[in-house]
Point group: C2
Chain length 483, copies 2
């Protein structure tokens, strides 16, 4: 039994550090577990509170634990996997192109709705801990109160009260003042992206995207007859600005479509100074930025980065938000900060889908106004963090050692770089046959660059079925590589 | 006091006819009122039931009354106005063109949401008699039953149970067998039109439309960079097939976008044989037909014409349906019969808006399955018919005598041809200033052809405010023409 020994020729705080590390390695303390409080630890092992604090800080430096404000110290996911590499291998290679893998993308979607599937292929953060009770209660109240009006059309730009609530939330979380009339309510974030692209570009135009990029963006760009062009992206800071500048020199890019907060699948969030520099660069070049900000509220630590739109001086930055990732995917309610494009966006919204669902808008408006939304997010984020840690740990345990993974700082997806010999389409097929849906890397770039990558979602209530699915996937990757 | 006189040298049934006509002219019997039953009338005026029947049939021949199955005889709207004329004046004139009047269209929409407005400018049939109680009750039940799943994403093509219900309804009402997988649930009929156009045409393509045509179609065609081409349309039979054939000779039309049942604004329904001939003509020419069938269930007499899609042999006919006109505009749930375009439509739906609202789909599915939908429509249609009659009668009373009107056989709109000197934009502006929204004729064609036309909606609970608004409009038109 390991205890503290004052006679030992080792700093007391080092002994505390070792003690905690031993417990982590044995699995007594697991990723996501909270360390005992400073006071409690001090009492239990008979060293002073400052010594325990020094030990905890050392552990944090070692990246074994992390501190969470007003909460304490927590065991970090100890992935044995190295981190995925930046996509700097793109070199002079990438060309604007239509999207490959159309058929595979369809099979991925088909798989998601097979009965009984383990759905690791869909990014669905809020379903990890659904707000069903609160939202249903609010909607029932709305129906009783507004009665017949709840069935009618909402205005084109959306119910004004909801747009005011969204504006209030920007003010409250990032100190930004938004005119509610510069917000257009959309059928989820996806329609916000559609309206943005249609407002600023036309068929044949080049749209720059992160690499890897969310397959829904790529499919949309392709559907509109536009061409996607990958930009080098780093898993720690997002799009590399130097590379972007060179890309803009080489190609007549009409717009950039980036997820500056929690890009999907990398789970990386661009630091504030880089975000501002990105806006400056694009404004200098007179290139439109469409920001996919649907994960903006889902950093594990609850920090809310400013959308790039708030650094804009030109009106050429649009930002897409959504309640699909943070409250209710099936409500199909997102929004668009229209920048300098309010009038064409309003016209497109009207002609594409008239307006968005009124009852859901009224419900969300009340859900936000009551504070329920904010309280819900505070309970959702720790669940997502814990799921991320569990999934990372299981991948480290079950996948081949040369597997690399992303280090998501929020959201609901983990990005895996598998050994080079693994074809993610083959893995996808055999997983589906075994009742598991995954997102093969092939669909995250216009070319076949991410052939040996997969994306796994941890946006579901954690379960033994999920644990077994990850173990099965790891073993299957082992089989595919001949281990 | 007028009574029956057996001594008179006039057939008894003629005397009954005169008696009824006198009561209609005095306003004792008003449009929409039911005549006393044959038996009751026979007892009251002391003539035989067959004689009364003969009189009622004569009145029907005179178009003063109409019989409704299992219900009796009703006073018809006696518009003193002549019927609007067919658009055969188009001659060689019409050219494919982008849409004029963008700004006016925006002002029409802005007006609709002004507080306290009398909303005669929006086509909203089911709001004349909303199904709020039944739909709210069903939705509450759905929320309690499916709980968390109700917040999740629906599949791309839509909730399967709803697609089966829609297929069942086609079988039940028009005897057509539809594969539920050939149905794509959309964000209202408008998105169904969007997906159809994007699947079959590209920017610069020519799309043939009725003349006049629903402004939402024109704005959509324009937004997609396509060109609208008017086809001559008759207010009694819809698109004129001879004219259409000539138009196809002259122009490389990519697709026709027609409302074969209850075109908006004319309210005309194409006879079945013409509908079939239309499909044959377009299939011969290899031109796609996109059918806007969102009013298919709203003929006053409850008849449900077969959508043109059911005469198709080629897969080049698509049909757009919706619950926005028949149940709940704010649910934003419509559908598309995808014809031969299932796969591209599914891909477009996914990339444009992921899927449609799940909770509304579950609710409508249950509303249909329980029979509540059908029972509701049976109560809605007579309300719409009565509103149409009241509005036609008031227009005849208050508008200048040379005003012409449509004779809608269903739906919720009346189309007025005003004296030539009236500019509908001027009338729109002064109406808005007086708290009344109307739809100016200018927005119903790509050019300014319908300058002296307006569309009035009777899809609202009838009220004295509406009566006063029609009287005010009639007087204003009188002022504008210097009467």
């Amino acid at each position: 039994m390991q205890t503290i020994d004052r006679a030992k020729d080792l700093h007391l705080y080092r002994q505390v550090t070792d003690l905690i590390n031993t417990n982590i390695e044995s699995g007594t303390l697991r990723p996501g577990d909270r360390l005992p409080s400073l006071r409690r630890m001090s009492e239990q092992i008979g060293v002073s509170v400052p010594t325990v604090r020094q030990a905890y800080i050392e552990l944090e430096r070692q990246r074994r634990v992390e501190s969470r404000p007003q909460s304490g110290f927590y065991v970090r996911a100890q992935s044995a996997n190295r981190m995925v590499r930046p996509s700097t291998r793109l070199g002079a290679g990438p060309k604007p192109m239509p999207v490959a893998c159309r058929t595979l993308m369809e099979r991925v979607y088909d798989g998601l709705y097979q009965p009984g599937i383990v759905p690791l292929g869909i990014a669905n953060p809020c379903m990890a801990h659904p707000a069903a009770r609160g939202l249903h209660r609010t909607m029932k109240r709305v129906m009783s109160r507004v009665e017949e009006r709840a069935l009618g059309y909402a205005p084109t730009l959306g119910e004004r009260r909801l747009r005011q609530q969204i504006a209030y939330r920007y003010l409250d979380t990032v100190g930004a003042t938004v005119d509610p009339d510069d917000i257009c309510i959309t059928n989820g974030g996806q329609e916000a992206l559609l309206l943005s692209l249609q407002a600023v570009a036309k068929p044949g135009d080049i749209i720059a995207v992160e690499s890897p990029a969310y397959h829904g963006l790529l499919e949309l760009i392709d559907s509109l007859g536009m061409l996607a062009l990958e930009v080098e992206t780093c898993p720690e800071e997002g799009v590399l600005l130097d590379s972007l500048a060179k890309t803009l020199d080489l190609h007549p890019v009409q717009a950039c479509l980036f997820s500056t907060t929690l890009s999907n699948p990398l789970g990386v969030s661009m630091p504030d100074d880089k975000r501002e520099a990105l806006v400056r660069l694009l404004e200098d070049r007179e290139v439109v930025l469409i920001e996919d900000d649907v994960y903006g509220e889902l950093l594990f630590d609850g920090r809310r980065p400013r959308p790039a739109e708030f650094y804009a001086q030109s009106g050429r930055v649009l930002s897409c938000g959504s309640f699909s990732k943070t409250a209710a995917p099936g409500y199909r309610i997102g929004w668009l900060l229209t920048g300098g494009f309010r009038s064409p966006i309003e016209r497109l919204k009207r002609s594409y889908s008239c307006s968005s669902g009124l009852l859901q808008q009224l419900t969300l408006s009340e859900f936000l106004a009551s504070g329920d939304y904010d309280r819900y997010l505070k309970t959702l984020r720790p669940v997502l963090r814990q799921n991320a840690e569990r999934m990372s740990a299981l991948v480290a345990e079950h996948f081949p050692a040369d597997t690399r993974t992303s280090r998501p700082v929020g959201g609901s997806v983990l990005w895996l770089e598998l050994p080079r010999s693994v074809d993610s389409e083959t893995l996808f097929d055999s997983a589906i046959r075994n009742g598991i849906s995954i997102a093969p890397g092939l669909i995250f770039a216009p070319d076949r660059r991410y052939r040996n990558f997969i994306r796994l979602s941890f946006g579901h209530p954690w379960s033994e079925r999920i644990e077994a699915a990850i173990a099965w996937l790891g073993a299957e990757v082992g089989r595919l590589t001949g281990h």
